[in-house]
């Protein structure tokens, strides 16, 4: 079972993603800002990270840079409420594996999981 870390300042979204991802057979850890995320990763390196960009304490951009530097092998999927193609292009250029624009369709999430972690419905 793959372990994923979901980082978002909105507890409802954390709760939602935890429920869906667990339903999709992932072990899910949660963090509500960049600082917390870094602590979690230092305690245990996950197989993948869902990272929101606008957060208090430490935002997703800063956390992204540190995570990329310290754990370049861990795929990071950006979650953003900004719908311009620009953010997505920008973060992909810096090494993000995927980008989920809020609000996202279940189909898009499943496609992302398949592409990033080789997930298949009902499998793993």
């Amino acid at each position: 079972m793959k372990r994923l870390l979901v980082v978002d300042d909105d507890p409802d979204i954390l709760r939602l993603l935890k429920a869906i991802l667990e339903a999709y057979q992932f072990a899910v850890e949660l963090a509500s800002n960049g600082r917390e995320a870094l602590d979690r990763v230092r305690a245990m390196v996950p197989d993948g990270i869902f990272l929101d960009l606008r957060m208090p304490v430490m935002d997703g951009y800063e956390a992204f840079d540190i995570l990329r530097r310290e754990h370049p092998g861990v795929p990071i999927i950006i979650i953003t409420a900004s719908n311009t193609g620009d953010v997505s292009r920008h973060m992909r250029a810096r090494g993000a594996r995927g980008c989920l624009v809020k609000p996202f369709d279940p189909q898009v999430l499943r496609t992302t999981l398949r592409e990033a972690f080789g997930w298949t419905p009902g499998g793993a």
């Binding site: 909105d10 609000p103 996202f104």
Partner: protein, 670 residues
């Protein structure tokens, strides 16, 4: 031929003719006299000889006759002589041989010699022949005597006399010539001098004079010429004076009319008037506003306080008098002529004794008075008055121009201030609008972001409820949640579009420029929409050009435009209808994309509004409601890339949406 030569030759001809005639007459007379005298002498000689030989002829003493004749022939003038008897027979011929003895000679003096009792004489080439009778004392004629005289001596005498006469004549001619020369010189020289002078005067040298000390007509003529030259010189000097004055006036006029500001204009006028009239002081008064009061505004030197304070009305003092009569005034002695003036004391203090004052007239009204003054009485004449009047004419124009300029300038300043205030207000309001615009964009962006976050949760939970992740739903639950989901999706679209529009309007849209074929994007978009079209029973078609149709833009943006147009077309086309996309490259350098449907069409009155924000055509007929922003965004995006989007439609026949984009060549790829 000059007068001198004419005079000389005429005089000489007259002298020559008169001298020649006198000379010829004298020669003829001299010759006649000499011959007559000689003839007389010869007669006397012959008569004396006849007395001497008469006795010998009587006694016929031939020897004595011969001797006597020989003796006679000692006289060199006697060439020959012979004596004839009463019958004309020669008795002796005076030669030793006496060869003519007894010969009857042809009558040398004619046949009547022998009969005539007086002495005859004849002159021929040979000389003078004298012949006459020989008488006895009793008066009996016994023969004749013929004597031939040589004319050599006479001829010599005549020659000498002729020569003398000729010499005399020549001398006279010489003297005459000299006289003629002198006379001609005396007459022609002054004439030449006068001609020279007249020419010089004609050429403009009016100082030329003829120096001739004569009392005759030539002398008077010279005086007349000198008088004329003097007159011309004086006239020319006057003319030059006038020209210089006119020139000075003109220059002053130019100078003062070149000024536009009133103060310096007035100062310049008084300074120039002062120098033009060589006056001590010049004053200038102007009407105050529109009223009847005048005040001194400028003075050469400084305007004293007394003068500056002084106001006068028409009729008061000298200046008032000028205003009242509208005529120039020359004052010889102010203290005498203006004893009644209310300004006598001021004038006396200001040192005004004599003056010229002229009105300043502009467009028929008196706008002021220009005055020059002197401390000395009787300083100005009518000449000064004329000059000052001429200057005043120019000055009045300049003053009026300056006053107009002043008015215009004040008006312009008011306008400029107004414009500046308005501009500042506009700038402020513009800045405020910009700020508001920025705040609006920021607000929209923030709101959109903040809305998305809760929407993500709502949409997520509903989506996964509907997927049955947390358990099966009853059919009504499923139905309700599906309706919620549809509205949530619409809300998301609305927010997304709002944010897009805000970005485009704020110029904050991010563009990722690439060169691509419009046909490629069209194909992709068409494929995306195919499931929807199949569901609705609408046929999709694509006409693409063989080559070309390349544009440079953000691919995603154009896909969004095309998706919007095609989605609308499919949405509003009923079952069995057709939606066609046509792309063509057309000159000059445009790529045209047309989306044509066979839908219900758009009413004409709504066509103009369909690009407005939130405007929706007949929303009730649409199966799903859009945001009302799609076309607005599409139009703005096309315009962002230099293109233009339009629509044509006919109710019941369908609609055609078209847009153009600038075409790029293959080489611009990348």
């Amino acid at each position: 031929m000059t007068l001198r030569i004419k005079l000389l030759s005429y005089t000489f001809c007259v002298i020559l003719m008169v001298g020649g005639a006198i000379s010829l007459y004298a020669i003829a007379q001299g010759r006649h006299y000499v011959l007559t005298t000689f003839q007389g002498e010869c007669h006397d000689t012959a008569a004396m000889m006849a007395e001497l030989v008469a006795n010998d002829v009587y006694v016929l003493n031939l020897l004595s006759l011969r001797n006597r004749l020989a003796n006679m022939r000692i006289n060199p003038t006697i060439r020959y002589t012979y004596i004839m008897d009463a019958d004309g027979v020669v008795l002796a011929d005076g030669t030793q041989a006496n060869i003519l003895r007894d010969q009857r000679l042809p009558a040398a003096l004619g046949a009547d010699l022998l009969q005539r009792e007086v002495w005859l004489s004849r002159i021929d080439a040979g000389g003078l022949t004298v012949g006459g009778p020989l008488w006895l004392s009793d008066g009996h004629r016994i023969g004749s005597l013929v004597v031939g005289f040589s004319l050599d001596r006479v001829n010599r005498l005549v020659h000498e006399a002729t020569h003398a006469s000729l010499y005399l004549t020549l001398t006279c001619l010489g003297i005459g010539a000299c006289l003629a020369f002198w006379v001609s010189t005396r007459v022609s020289r002054p004439i030449a001098a006068m001609v020279h002078a007249a020419r010089a005067i004609g050429a403009g040298d009016l100082t030329t004079r003829v120096h001739l000390q004569r009392r005759d007509e030539l002398g008077r003529l010279a005086e007349a010429i000198n008088g004329m030259a003097a007159g011309l010189e004086q006239g020319q000097a006057m003319l030059h004076g006038k020209i210089a004055e006119t020139q000075a006036l003109y220059e002053i006029g130019q100078e003062i009319t070149a000024q536009v500001v009133l103060g310096p204009t007035l100062q310049l006028i008084v300074e120039r008037a002062c120098s033009l009239l060589q006056a001590e002081r010049c004053l200038l008064a102007l009407r105050r506003g529109e009223g009847q009061s005048f005040a001194f505004q400028a003075s050469s030197g400084t305007l004293t306080e007394e003068l500056a304070r002084l106001h006068f009305r028409p009729g008061e003092g000298l200046s008032g008098h000028v205003v009242l009569t509208a005529a120039p005034q020359v004052v010889d002695d102010y203290l005498q002529d203006y004893r009644e003036s209310p300004f006598l004391a001021t004038a006396a203090m200001a040192g005004i004794r004599s003056a010229v004052a002229v009105p300043l007239r502009a467009r028929g009204t008196i706008i002021g008075v220009l005055m020059v003054t002197s401390r000395v009485p009787h300083q100005f004449g009518s000449d000064d008055q004329q000059r000052l009047s001429a200057l005043a004419d120019q000055a009045a124009i300049a003053i009026e121009n300056a006053q107009l300029y002043e008015a215009v300038r004040q008006h312009a300043a008011v306008l400029a201030a107004e414009v500046e205030t308005r501009t500042r207000e506009l700038q402020a309001s513009n800045a405020r609008l910009k700020e508001l615009d920025r705040l609006k964009s920021e607000f929209v962006s923030d709101v959109s972001h903040e809305l998305r976050t809760p929407l993500t949760s709502i949409k997520g939970y509903i989506d996964y409820l509907l997927e049955g992740i947390v358990g099966e739903l009853s059919p009504p639950q499923h139905d309700f949640l599906t309706r919620v989901q549809g509205n949530i999706d619409r809300l998301v679209r609305l927010i997304t579009n709002l944010l897009d529009l805000a970005r485009i309007e704020a110029g904050q849209v991010d563009t990722h420029l690439v060169t691509f074929a419009m046909a490629e994007v069209a194909t992709e978009v068409l494929e995306t929409l195919r499931p929807l079209a199949v569901d609705k029973g609408v046929a999709l078609g694509l006409d693409i050009p063989e080559r070309g149709g390349l544009v440079r833009a953000d691919r995603d943006h154009l896909a969004q435009v095309l998706l919007n147009l095609l989605h609308n077309a499919v949405k509003f086309t009923p079952i069995g209808g057709k939606v066609r996309v046509r792309i063509e490259a057309r000159p000059p350098g445009e790529v045209l994309t047309v989306v044509q449907d066979t839908g219900e069409g758009i009413p004409a009155e709504e066509l103009a509004r369909i690009f407005d924000q939130f405007y929706q055509v007949n929303p009730a007929s649409a199966p799903t409601r859009g945001s009302g922003l799609g076309l607005t965004i599409a139009k703005k995006l096309v315009e962002l890339y230099g293109g233009h989007l339009w629509v044509t439609s006919q109710l019941g026949q369908g609609s055609t949406f078209g847009f153009t984009l600038p075409a790029v060549g293959m080489e611009a790829n990348g």
